[in-house]
Amino acid sequence: MAIIKPFKLDEVREALGQLGIQGLTVSEVKGFGRQKGQTEIYRGAEYQVNFLPKVKLEIAVRDDLVDRAMEAISAAACTDKIGDGKIFVYGLEHAVRIRTGETGNDAL
């Protein structure tokens, strides 16, 4: 799972594609972190924008690809500016491809 800046999505997807990763799931999220939203003024009242739009990628990959995938994401999503996002890795117990019933690595 990776949280990245929305406009980096295409680059990340292409970087992953080059590793042969051809499946991923994306969702729109809002992130709260060190990168603070600006203080905005709406109708004369100040307010803090706490949540910034981010994109969350969920990618199930074979164990041996994890490190390279992490590197690829990091490289593609990095702007060296605060708010670039994070990658979290957790273990999968099973995977099933619904269409074929394939499981495990075949399902990815």
Binding site: K30, I41, Y42, R43, G44, A45, E46, Y47, N50, F51
Partner: protein
């Protein structure tokens, strides 16, 4: 002046005008002026016949123009109902948008029916310098055209009716996102059937205020401030939306869910305002009327434009960035400000009046927040604030008015509407109940009261998100 039964004033005016213009025109056109010798009886007869026929036709043309002006301008004002719906629907959160739609279409509908049943008679029939018209049911349109009325009575009814609806729409915006539907509907019925017509009788019905010399051409006070006062009382009694004001005194903005829709609403209102102010000339049957309405259109437009520019500059200077919603309010501020007197000001003065309106509204919105009066769409600054400003600005261009009589009008109508509103809102509070429960407010009135969503597929946005 704004009165239904004008005994041929237009025809009179135009006769006067033609009488004055005739010699000049005759010379212009190389026609011989009327001879000075006494005409013979035969000549007199022929001339009289021709004149009678022409006068009759003149009256008929005037009748058509006047009625048509009422109808078309009235249709433009009707269209303002859509403008209010879009403006308010764009400035509330999406969980209350469907309710806002329902309230606006209901307000327009109920206003029309109430004004038909009691309002019109109460406002216009036999006021005679007094405080109230006739409490008679059912406005009756008569059985055919009578040229002596100068216009079709029903066209006048239609035009006055759409004004009533405007006053009701103002209330729905301020009290959005928490006021129950049925309370709103009942309040609207009372406002449009009783409160509005009674104070309207004072001035446009030629009641005491009219005789005192007050002037309000198209309703900065009679329409806009009336809606504004009712809204203000309601806002105080209802309290703010949950989460709008923190205990520590912070104001938490609650952004509107659909700003392009709010912008559309503003454009609709701007368009409708040509009907609102232009139609309030109440006639189109003479060159003088056409000339006046033209100036009204231009002044109305320039005041609104000035309100926009003023709001843009003000928000840029004050906050370092332009605020779109304030700019929309600025347009409406300019429009309300010029409404009390859109005819007499020079275009430059119209720009000034509108610009002051724009400035006022930018200042008044945070002020209200400091008073913890939660006005969802900024209707109080726009309609009440600029309604007062516009009314007081009338003497700048209209020499027949004084600042003091203008103030008298503002104050007396304000006092009346505030008093009535308190009674009605409180009565509703202790019967039907004004405010939805906290949980309903969390869920939104659309789901809790209407059982549907305005945009079921577009995300169910949380304000914090």
């Amino acid at each position: 002046m704004r009165f239904a039964n004008r005994p041929l004033p237009v025809a009179g005016l135009s006769l006067l005008f033609v009488a004055l213009a005739l010699p000049a025109l005759a010379q212009d056109m190389g026609l011989p002026p009327a001879e000075t010798g006494l005409p013979t009886v035969a000549q007199t007869t022929a001339a009289a016949e021709a004149t009678v026929a022409l006068d009759a036709f003149r009256n008929e043309v005037s009748y058509i123009f006047n009625s048509f002006s009422f109808l078309l301008h009235g249709a433009l004002v009707m269209w303002m109902g859509a403008g209010f719906a879009m403006l308010e629907g764009g400035l509330v959160r999406s969980k209350n948008t469907a309710m806002q739609m329902l309230k606006n279409i209901t307000a327009y509908s109920v206003a029309g029916i109430m004004f038909y049943i009691v309002g019109y008679n109460l406002m216009y029939v036999n006021v005679n310098g007094g405080f109230i018209g006739t409490l008679a049911f059912l406005f009756e349109p008569g059985s055919g055209p009578d040229l002596a009325t100068g216009h079709s009575p029903t066209s006048d009814w239609f035009f006055q009716m759409v004004f009533v609806a405007t006053a009701a729409s103002i209330v729905s915006g301020t009290l959005a996102e928490r006021l129950r539907f049925w309370s709103f509907m009942i309040f609207t019925a009372v406002l449009t059937g009783l409160i509005y017509p009674i104070q309207g009788a004072w001035q446009w019905g030629h009641g005491w205020l009219y005789q005192a010399g007050f002037s309000d051409f198209a309703g900065s006070t009679l329409v806009h401030s009336v809606g504004g006062w009712a809204a203000l009382v309601g806002a105080v009694l209802l309290g703010a939306r949950r989460g709008k004001y923190s205990l520590d005194g912070r104001v938490n903005p609650i952004p509107g869910a659909n700003l392009p829709m709010a912008t559309l609403g503003t454009f609709i209102l701007w368009l409708g305002w040509f009907g609102f102010n232009g139609g309030s000339q109440l006639a189109l049957g003479s060159a003088q009327d056409a000339w006046s309405i033209s100036n009204i259109y231009a002044n109305t437009n320039l005041a609104a434009a000035a309100g926009v520019v003023a709001a843009i500059i003000m928000t840029q200077v004050l906050y370092g960035k332009v605020d779109l919603t304030m700019t929309l309010n600025g347009a409406l501020a300019g429009l309300v400000s010029i409404t009390a007197e859109p005819l007499m000001p020079t275009p430059l003065l119209a720009i000034g009046i509108g610009a002051v309106g724009g400035v006022l509204v930018v200042l008044a919105v945070p002020l209200l927040d400091r008073l913890r009066i939660d006005d969802v769409v900024g209707a109080i600054p726009v309609h009440l604030g600029c309604g007062i400003w516009g009314t007081l600005a009338v003497p700048l261009s209209n020499p027949n008015t004084t600042f003091l009589t203008q103030l008298l009008g503002v104050a007396s109508i304000g006092a009346f509407v505030v008093a009535c509103s308190i009674v009605v809102w409180l009565a509703l509070k202790f019967t039907v109940g004004l405010r939805c429960s906290e949980e309903e407010e969390n869920i939104g009135l659309d789901k809790s009261d209407l059982g549907l969503e305005a945009y079921p597929e577009f995300g169910h946005g949380h304000k914090g998100l």
